[in-house]
């Protein structure tokens, strides 16, 4: 039996046919669509390396069965930059040294984008650390990660206020 679904993936519509309902969103992205930016760490929802935005909200792609997602809007790390212009969170991670080996970084950045949209943490480092606890960094670049999220939040806030003025 096969399953047909349509996703809006990084802004583009895609028709997908699945031969197996066991395929997770993570495996669909990496192995079947060829977008390996989303990483597989634990594959159990514990490390956050596979974080993507699903209808604007951050989730673990390893725990979502692709077959359930017909009509969904997905944003991965590959869809974040605008051409050669990086997303403010990407910029901030580079400037604040928010990584070492880089394996968890796509998940960290997608989680940070989701957290900032939730408006839960503001630029309070304690709330940022709490809000980012679903993303593990084996290199322990947490200091830089917190600084990056803090700085990106400030810049995005300022940009929003600038737009409104």
């Amino acid at each position: 039996m096969s399953f047909s679904l349509t996703l809006t993936l990084n802004g583009a519509q895609r028709d997908i046919v699945l031969d197996d309902p066991r395929v997770t969103l993570l495996d669909l992205l990496r192995d079947r669509i060829g977008l390996p930016g989303t990483k597989k760490g634990c594959d159990r929802g514990q490390c956050g390396a596979c974080t993507v935005l699903l209808n604007g909200k951050r989730v673990n792609a390893c725990l979502a069965l692709a077959v359930t997602l017909d009509g969904a809007e997905i944003t991965t790390i590959e869809g974040l930059a605008d051409g050669d212009t990086l997303h403010p969170v990407q910029d901030a991670f580079i400037e604040a040294d928010g990584f070492q080996c880089g394996y968890c970084t796509p998940g960290q950045i997608m989680s940070a984008v989701g957290l900032i949209a939730e408006g839960r943490a503001g630029d309070d480092p304690e709330r940022i650390r709490e809000g980012m606890s679903g993303n593990i960094c084996r290199c322990a670049a947490y200091h830089g990660i917190t600084k990056a999220v803090q700085e990106a939040t400030r810049r995005m806030d300022a940009a929003t206020k600038g737009d409104a003025a």
Partner: protein
């Protein structure tokens, strides 16, 4: 994962009709898909509930209660301002659980019905006393049994939450405490093929809003299961406690409430001695299994501290570290 059939019904009636023995309901998948990956869950049929209409509403009733659809996400419920204002310790417990990603996907019904942590290993036939014993009960069961892992359910039990279910024999309401009372053979009191449609919080629960806290002790400050936890809610009549609620988490296969512990606080002024007696009474009958003796003392202290926090007042804004014993020490910029 072993292969399974997949259905995506678009009405509750179709969902109920689709159920067969061996089927599993799929909500957010954060518990079930994980369990299926380990082999601990092997449904022959997965019935995805995501297309069922009307199960994502949060209704604040005029009488002061609330009705929450089964598919509302943990994050959406915690972030609902009116719900969090009426039931602050429920919001605090939700935000003390899991991670931001998990809370966005996990549903209300899925949280309530989540599997105990030993379900991930039971199929391997391992002895529960081998390895990590932190999830073993000290109350309410004969022999080593895994505790109910939910934070959310602890304040829900304290506030007499009710679950609306529908099954082959029609709809019925069941108290959360009864739903989560496992027997030797069953994990919950749901009958085969029954589906949770909504959760109701009675209006009386909102009368505790000014003095209601959830406290959770963990191996690490965030994104960890409770070692022990407590939901404490007080309603004052002048300087004295008119009514008290206390539920303990991570100590039994179900959230643990003891009527005598709550009753002894009624009519009393809140002080350390009273809270110690309440905690002692709540834990009477606790038995250490294996090396879990630490848990009895930790649960006692957790209960006392939760009651003390509740007596102070519910903070206007949740602390930066919800439910954490370190929350009071953390600098809260909102109040700086």
């Amino acid at each position: 994962m072993i292969p399974f059939a997949f259905l995506q019904p678009t009405s509750v009636d179709d969902a109920l009709a689709a159920w067969t023995p061996g089927a599993a309901w799929l909500g957010g998948g954060t518990n079930l898909v994980d369990l299926m990956k380990t082999g601990g869950g092997q449904p022959s049929l997965l019935i995805d509930l995501s297309r069922l209409p009307g199960l994502r509403d949060i209704e604040m009733s005029d009488d002061g209660g609330a009705r929450v659809g089964a598919l509302v996400s943990n994050a959406d419920l915690a972030d609902h301002p009116a719900f969090a204002a009426r039931f602050p310790m429920v919001a605090e417990a939700l935000l003390a659980g899991a991670s931001g990603q998990i809370r966005n996907a996990a549903t209300v019904a899925g949280n309530i019905l989540q599997y105990p942590r030993d379900a991930f290993f039971k199929h391997l036939g391992e002895d529960p006393l081998d390895g990590d014993t932190t999830s073993l009960s000290i109350l309410g069961a004969n022999g080593p049994v895994a505790v109910h892992p939910s934070d959310f359910c602890v304040p829900l039990a304290a506030l007499d939450a009710v679950v609306e279910v529908q099954g082959p024999n029609g709809p019925r309401d069941i108290a959360l405490a009864d739903l989560l009372a496992p027997t030797a053979d069953t994990r919950t009191a749901l009958a085969p093929g029954e589906l949770v449609l909504a959760l109701r919080l009675p209006a009386e629960g909102a009368t505790f809003a000014g003095h209601a806290r959830y406290l959770k002790v963990r191996d690490r400050t965030s994104f960890a299961f409770a070692l022990t936890s407590a939901a404490a809610a007080l309603r004052f009549d002048g300087p004295r406690i008119a009514e008290a609620r206390l539920a303990l988490g991570a100590v039994a296969p179900t959230p643990w409430r003891v009527a005598e512990a709550e009753a002894l606080m009624a009519g009393q002024a809140p002080d350390a001695d009273l809270f110690e007696r309440a905690a002692q009474t709540a834990l009477s009958g606790a038995v250490a299994i294996g090396d879990t003796g630490w848990k009895i003392e930790l649960a006692r202290r957790t209960a006392i501290r939760a009651l003390t926090l509740a007596a102070a007042h519910t903070p206007a804004r949740l602390p930066a570290l919800p439910g954490s014993p370190f929350a009071a020490q953390a600098k809260d910029h909102a109040h700086a």
